[in-house]
């Protein structure tokens, strides 16, 4: 019975469909590798991070905060704060996941990322529900992510770009890019203003660590939710 919820045909279909997305992911992975090399992480450490964490935005943020020795608590918290959005993806894919168990379920949960999620939501609207599709798409993205960050590390080690080199601007550019699809409409304006208003002074008072990022996320979330509740009860 389980085979119908997780077929190898769907796995191949998902893998094929995510190839183009994997290409789009490549520069992002390269940036992670270059940043990791710039912070003195070894090739093995870079591969471990990309393979085990497999979440680009949190890796870039963590590498930006990376010092020597590594700030274990700060980067763990940063990863949690940045990836909290993934807690909302699993529930949205419940129709795909609820009939799976064992490695099929855990593999899909481990491979859950923004790009694969977006693809699954789009395919789900056309009737796709096979867990194999999700797994195949995630696996291709994972392999591409690992390969690109390792390649980026090799490039970063060879080029050794100095501090302030525009190559490092790619990390900031990645976050600016991600803001565009995150903007859902005018109701985001007030929470975003609140986030910026809180982030600026906190960044000045506590320049080390990710506190300004966490404070901004909480401020924006609270402002948005408060206003929704007021509008709902009014």
């Amino acid at each position: 019975m389980r085979a119908r919820h997780f077929t190898s045909a769907a796995l191949a279909r998902g893998a094929r469909r995510s190839l183009a997305i994997a290409l789009g992911l490549a520069p992002f992975g390269l940036v992670v590798g270059v940043l990791a090399a710039g912070k003195g992480l070894s090739l093995v450490e870079t591969g471990l991070m990309s393979g085990l964490v497999f979440a680009g935005a949190s890796q870039i943020l963590a590498l930006d905060l990376w010092t020597h020795p590594a700030p274990i608590l700060a980067v763990t918290f940063a990863a949690f704060a940045v990836n909290l959005r993934m807690a909302l993806m699993g529930p949205a894919l419940a129709a795909w996941l609820e009939k799976l168990s064992g490695w099929r379920l855990w593999g899909n949960l481990f491979l859950l990322v923004d790009h694969g999620f977006a693809l699954a939501i789009a395919e789900g609207r056309k009737g796709e529900r096979d867990g194999g599709f999700l797994f195949g798409a995630g696996l291709v993205l994972w392999v591409a992510w690992l390969a690109c960050s390792l390649l980026g590390h090799v490039l970063g080690t060879a080029l050794r770009p100095p501090r302030g080199h525009p190559l490092f601007f790619a990390a900031l550019a990645a976050f600016v890019s991600l803001l565009v699809p995150l903007w859902r409409g005018r109701h985001d304006a007030l929470p975003w203003l609140a986030a910026a208003g809180v982030a600026l002074p906190v960044a000045r008072l506590a320049p080390h660590g990710a506190w300004h990022v966490v404070a901004a996320a909480l401020a924006g979330g609270l402002v948005g939710a408060w206003r929704e509740r007021r509008q709902g009860t009014a």
Binding site: A55, M86, G90, L112, L172, A173, A215, A225
Partner: protein, 99 residues
């Protein structure tokens, strides 16, 4: 090749990320979160990246500002994160070379 502090930091990140990926699925299955929390989680991703980008731009100069502007324009036109990163980095690079 692997430093203990680096390994612990990477494992911490990996566990925190897996907790997000799997925790959300199992938590939402077991209990229904309040509408307030659900609404709040909807605003967290955008606010989080604003919190990262705004102080970084405030601390930056012409290179960062033009780079960010180029990123936004390219992103609006293409809808592709990779194109946005490439355009922004190229613009920042151009400013860097010209000065």
């Amino acid at each position: 090749m692997i430093e203990t502090a680096n390994l612990l930091a990477i494992l911490g990140m990996a566990l925190a990320t897996l907790a997000c990926r799997a925790g959300g699925y199992f938590l939402f299955r077991a209990l229904r979160p309040s509408p307030f929390l659900r609404a709040m989680l909807g605003y967290v991703p955008g606010a989080l990246f604003v919190g990262y980008v705004v102080p970084a731009l405030a601390a930056g100069g012409l290179k960062e500002w033009l780079g960010a502007a180029a990123t936004l324009v390219a992103m609006r036109l293409s809808g592709n994160v990779a194109v946005g990163i490439a355009a922004g980095t190229a613009a920042a690079w151009a400013v860097w070379l010209l000065r």
